[in-house]
């Protein structure tokens, strides 16, 4: 039988604030074990959480960038469970008043709805030493601010799931609230998945796959789970509601705990943190601080600038690159020309030099000037590449580099006409042959004129003037 997968995601994204959500410890990834924690985030008796306002602001930014509505009244709750990496034995989170609700992301014609985004604290990490048979706790990650983005079950395939996670990551990076480095755990995904027979309206029993930490494992876990559940149903069995773990080496999932073993988290309002109440003005200010989002830029590039979808996608895939492009075309609106030059020549140089777009020795406006010089035939296409190479090495204005290095092409038409006259006078025989119909000699005459004019001569003008002179004479 054919089945339709019904998939919802929970994306955990660590916010890139400089300090943790309830204390002033560094929230940076890594660090020597237990050096980025304090009595507060280690949950020592008598300590109290102090909310980092920046984390709330970042959560709002995340919500706005995913088209969510923002709750003006924000309160926190405690989620109680025992685990050695959770020092207070409760996680401060938002249960019934999440900071953002009702968002959505378009993944190429289909909208995946977002149910809610709430702000919470991350737990620590356990390091298991199987050799010694001991487990050690590292609390550096404890209290790093985290948002959990919960979708509606709108996703129907592994590819859609991947597209959604990519789109969300891109927007969070644009908003500057999360670096979305899955390999460092700053973005982790739980997948809720069930299947139902094609044509059925009855949802199947779902399994939850926890803690997927790469796009590849999201895709593989979903594909495995679809086939696992399909086989169960095909053979007349029943899918059990449970939490499963994805095994990256084997590409399979295995049961972690059943619904009966599920925790009772005993949520209740966090008494130590007063509610955070936003005004319309607060939200407007946060909105104003957000950059133009990638989906808006994509639309602009393809519809208004006439770029191909592939080129547009390539540019928006990196906010710094897209900002660079936007600044360049603001100076000189040859949208396609600048896009080509950036995507081919600039990216080539970046790769070759292992450089990043943020640390260039020249500005977007200087790239615009370079493209303009080439467009206006003041330099040749090859010269443009050479000038870019020099700009990479030492910076500098393209026009100055062109002048200093003799790349500037002569546009003095009188000089060209004079040279042509001289060459034609000295090569009467070739001129006659041309007039008799031998076009071959054009190249010879062209070469003579170019040699006479020297480096920096403009082949386009020479060609035009020579043609005119030969035909007119």
């Amino acid at each position: 039988m054919r089945y339709i997968p019904v998939i919802g995601l929970e994306i955990h994204a660590e916010l890139s604030t400089s300090s943790k959500v309830f204390c002033t410890c560094s929230a940076q990834f890594g660090g020597e074990q237990n050096t980025r924690c304090c009595p507060r985030c280690a949950g020592l008796p008598g300590t109290l959480p102090v909310l980092n306002k920046k984390a709330v602001e970042y959560a709002v930014k995340a919500g706005l960038s995913l088209d969510c509505a923002i709750n003006m009244y924000n309160s926190f709750d405690r989620k109680n469970y025992f685990y050695p990496d959770l020092p207070k034995a409760y996680q401060i989170t938002q249960f019934d008043k999440p900071v953002c609700i009702n968002g959505g992301v378009d993944i190429g014609g289909k909208i995946i709805r977002i149910n809610r985004i709430h702000l919470e604290e991350d737990a620590g990490k356990l390091i298991h030493d199987d050799f010694e048979g001991i487990s050690l706790a590292d609390f550096n990650r404890c209290g790093v601010p985290l948002i959990e983005i919960v979708t509606e079950p709108d996703i129907s395939s592994a590819e859609e799931a991947r597209a959604f996670v990519e789109a969300v990551s891109l927007r969070l990076r644009y908003a500057g609230v999360c670096d979305c480095k899955m390999e460092e755990g700053s973005l982790r995904v739980d997948v809720n998945i069930s299947i139902m027979p094609e044509g059925s309206a009855q949802l199947g029993t779902r399994a939850e796959i926890k803690n997927l930490n790469s796009l590849k494992s999201i895709v593989r876990a979903i594909e495995y789970e679809i086939s696992r559940q399909s086989e169960i149903l095909d053979s007349g069995g029943k899918v059990v509601q449970e939490t499963r773990r994805f095994n990256d080496n084997r590409g399979t999932t295995n049961a972690l705990r059943s619904k009966e073993e599920a925790h009772d988290y005993r949520y209740f309002p966090e008494p130590d943190i007063p509610a955070v109440i936003f005004t319309e003005e607060d939200i407007e200010n946060i909105k104003a601080s957000l950059p133009k989002m990638p989906q808006k830029r994509f639309e602009e590039y393809t519809k208004d600038f006439g770029l191909s979808e592939d080129d547009a996608r390539l540019i928006i895939s990196d906010k710094a690159l897209s900002d660079f492009y936007d600044n360049a075309v603001a100076e000189y609106p040859n949208y396609k020309g600048i896009a080509n030059f950036i995507l081919v020549e600039l990216l080539h140089q970046l790769n070759k030099n292992e450089a990043s777009i943020d640390s260039l020795a020249f500005s977007p406006s200087e790239i615009a000037q370079l493209v303009r010089l080439s467009d206006e035939s003041k330099i040749s296409k090859n010269a443009a590449k050479d000038i870019l190479r020099i700009m990479f090495e030492k910076g500098g204005k393209p026009e100055v580099i062109a002048k200093e290095n003799g790349f500037l092409m002569d546009t003095n038409v009188d000089a060209v006409i004079a040279a042509i006259k001289e060459v034609m006078d000295q090569n009467q025989k070739a001129v006659d042959e041309y007039k008799a119909g031998s076009e071959k000699v054009f190249g010879f005459l062209m070469g003579q004129v170019t040699r006479k004019l020297g480096k920096g001569s403009n082949p386009k003008i020479i060609r035009e003037e020579l043609t005119k002179a030969l035909k007119g004479g």
């Binding site: 009595p39 020592l44 008796p45 102090v50 034995a89 009772d264 130590d272």
Partner: protein, 483 residues
């Protein structure tokens, strides 16, 4: 008069006039503690060395003429208030060897004033109880009658003041834990408005109810202490942004326009006749001073005990989850897995009353019970606030008994937890509504045991209740205990 019977104003004057040095004063108290406290067991830890060092520093300030109201004054602290590198046990085996790496905000403030930390006082384990008999370090005894309880949970704090083992003390009050022991020990105890004093460094019992406050010989002494410890604290976001409290500003002001509310429900069948008579007599005194007395009603009182025990136990069950033997505190020697280790640690480290509250709170928050218990309690909380708001529309203060009885015999009630819980009826509503209240002695029963009355005020109106309590204290002869 013996020095340990002096009040703060008098000690201040003696210190400033060099009639006694800060070191002599501390030595005197340490000597008394050594002589007397084996009978009362009010201290868990005495900080002799640190206190003498602090006293020397305080004396320098006094000598330089820059002493504040508490410079050189010895203070005892309830042992749930964190003191840097001084063990802070909560009277529990769980924290028997816990040495906090930081001072509570109130401790920082006291140190900044030049106050001298005498020691850490005994209490009910994790502040859960009203008798100070659940301590891992043994029960506390009432100096008026050593066979009786001192009340609790700040029993050690109240006894240290009553028995002259500290001039003033800090306790904590979640449902009456400052006022009730103050009442049982014949001293004055103040529970400030929620948010007046920082809770940073107070080991949490029930976060939405806990508040640190002073126990002293008089309302004025309580006010002097409160002024030194109150104020917004960036380490505790639940503290209020308010200026200096000026707690003693209404002392000596005429009371002839004051309206006193007497909620009849607080004088019902469960209240001992001696207690009722003493409180009514005190109210008569206020009438003589020109106050107007109004009978008011407090219909939500009948739900208060249930709501209090649900809210406080729910919060406690969460606050006390961190004691898992992993990072600090007691760890069981038995347990192969994490689950076993944590079970054994908590089974061995907590006493029965603490376990009872954790069970109750966990149950109240469990899925399927939350709406019936925790949520309903939160609703009652709202009703209690409404009752107070309504009364304060017509009254300036409310007077009630502090406890239904005077101090009872050790061993008399401990076997009946529900009866113990019901005895909190007069105090818990104040915490539920976050209001300030002060308990002062208003009489003695037939056996000579002190009776306390509580004066409850509007939010952040500590100065009025201190002024009102002081007016009574001036005309009341306290029977000092000799021990």
């Amino acid at each position: 008069m013996e020095i340990h019977k002096h009040n703060l104003r008098s000690l201040r004057s003696m210190l400033d006039k060099r009639e006694i040095s800060a070191v002599e004063l501390v030595e005197l108290y340490i000597k008394r503690i050594k002589e007397v406290d084996h009978k009362t067991n009010s201290y868990i830890t005495v900080c002799e060395e640190e206190a003498l060092l602090q006293a020397k520093e305080a004396q320098k300030l006094i000598n330089s003429g820059s002493s504040g109201s508490l410079t050189g004054i010895p203070v005892s602290l309830k042992d749930n208030i964190c003191t840097k590198d001084i063990r802070t046990t909560c009277a529990s085996k769980m924290l028997e060897d816990f040495y906090p790496p930081y001072d509570a905000t109130v401790v920082k403030k006291l140190k900044a004033c030049g106050a001298v930390l005498l020691g850490k006082t005994n209490m009910d384990e994790f502040a859960m109880g009203g008798s100070s008999q659940t301590s891992y370090f043994g029960g506390v005894k009432n100096p008026y009658d050593l066979s009786r309880v001192p009340g609790g949970s700040s029993g050690g704090a109240a006894v240290s003041v009553a028995a002259g083992l500290a001039p003033v003390s800090l306790g904590s009050d979640t449902g009456g834990s400052i006022r009730q022991p103050a009442s049982f020990c014949g001293v004055t105890g103040l529970k400030p408005t929620y948010g007046t004093v920082s809770r940073y460094g107070l080991i949490a019992f029930a976060s939405s109810l806990d508040q640190i406050g002073p126990i002293a010989k008089s309302a004025e002494d309580c006010g002097i202490i409160l002024d030194s410890i109150a104020g917004y604290d960036s380490d505790d976001p639940t503290t209020a942004h308010r200026g200096a409290p000026g707690s003693c500003s209404k002392i000596g002001m005429p009371l002839n326009n004051l309206k006193i509310g007497i909620p009849k429900e607080f004088f019902g069948d469960g209240i001992n006749e001696d207690v009722k008579a003493a409180v009514f007599a005190a109210v008569k005194e206020y009438e003589k001073m020109g106050c107007q007395v109004l009978e008011v009603s407090f219909p939500s009182l009948k739900y208060a005990i249930a709501a209090y025990y649900l809210i406080s136990s729910a919060e406690a069950s969460s606050n006390l989850s961190r004691y898992d033997g992993i990072k600090f505190g007691y760890r069981s020697k038995n347990g192969e897995s994490y689950e076993e280790l944590i079970k054994n640690t908590r089974a061995e480290g907590f006493g029965d009353e603490v376990k009872r509250r954790i069970l109750l709170g966990t149950y109240a928050l469990s899925s399927g019970y939350y709406d019936d218990y925790y949520k309903k309690a939160a609703y009652v909380r709202q009703k209690i606030k409404e009752d107070y708001n309504r009364i304060f529309n017509t009254c300036d203060v409310i007077i009630t008994p502090t406890a239904p009885t005077t101090a009872y015999m050790i061993g008399e009630q401990e076997s009946n937890p529900v009866k113990m819980y019901l005895a909190d009826i007069c105090t818990v509503t104040v915490n539920i509504a976050g209001l300030p209240a002060i308990s002062t002695t208003c009489g003695y029963d037939g056996k000579g045991m002190p009776i306390g009355m509580s004066i409850v005020g509007r939010p952040f109106d500590e100065s009025t209740i201190i002024g009102v309590a002081d007016a009574f204290e001036r005309n009341f002869e306290r029977q000092e205990v000799s021990i």
